[in-house]
Point group: C2
Chain length 168, copies 2
């Protein structure tokens, strides 16, 4: 069941059913119709409430292939939006491209993150990331695979947990 | 000799001798002293004339480690600057973050690239990338490894080759 859920969210999260050509077309068309001078990528499609709180969006950038053992996408978190708590079996790299937000590992203080920050998330480490309560945050996510799995989703970040981080 | 050259340029190109902590410090300090509102990353240090024509600069972003089988850096090409012809044994992904330039594979027409473009460079394919003659170009490079090798450098892109691409 856990594996099935992971497969489903992998499909939802990074559109792995698209062919390379479809990816390229998606990318070009979203770029040409939506990109403006300040945003690096289009906002993309809304991510599911099952794994995200608030309004989060994804533009897929690259599918896993024979050379790249990762998927890559641009994720936009509107004010107040964040991932659920989750882990990655082989870690994930975030590149913050716009705005301000937080990265927090379970049991540790949240780390404020801002445009130009790179976060190297360790394997099998429970964490979340998202916008602050008052600012959007956009990051590129490079998510490594272990076999067919790149993420294990856990519980939402509660209002209490999120408020505590934003209070400081 | 080729392996030795590759090792040397790997060190030059992505500063792999730095510890994770040193990388983080470098990144924070360059960001805080040089970043402005429009640039995503600092320009970094000039890349060697041996492998680049014109003024190209590198800010290292991430070292290869147990989860990430790649290095990542931000490369700034001033007007007219470009890589030598080269190949990657397991390919490379470029994310253009600013400006305009070209990506060209040997024997094919050059592809104009601009902010928001992603280029998935195949393995063992001779190519170059760089700015146009009249505009800068900045990209993130994610370079996969095969063993200890991530790049094989070849001849400079000649003035004739570069002019032909810029003429169109």
């Amino acid at each position: 069941m856990k594996n099935r859920l992971n497969s489903i969210i992998s499909l939802l999260f990074f559109g792995l059913t698209l062919s390379t050509e479809a990816w390229s077309q998606t990318q070009n068309s979203t770029k040409m119709t939506e990109q403006n001078n300040s945003a690096l990528f289009a906002k993309g499609d809304k991510l599911p409430d099952t794994y995200f709180t608030g309004n989060a969006f994804l533009t897929p950038l690259l599918a896993k292939d024979k050379n790249n053992d990762f998927v890559m996408g641009s994720v936009t978190f509107e004010k107040g939006a964040r991932t659920n708590w989750h882990t990655h079996p082989r870690g994930q790299v975030l590149i913050v491209t716009e705005g301000n937000g937080f990265y927090q590992e379970k049991g540790k203080p949240a780390r404020p993150i801002t445009k130009g920050d790179v976060v190297n998330i360790p394997e099998n480490t429970e964490h979340w990331h998202g916008a602050s309560v008052s600012t959007k945050m956009v990051h590129i996510a490079i998510t490594n695979y272990e076999g067919d799995t790149n993420v294990v989703w856990l519980k939402p970040v509660s209002t209490e947990e999120y408020s505590a981080v934003n209070k400081h």
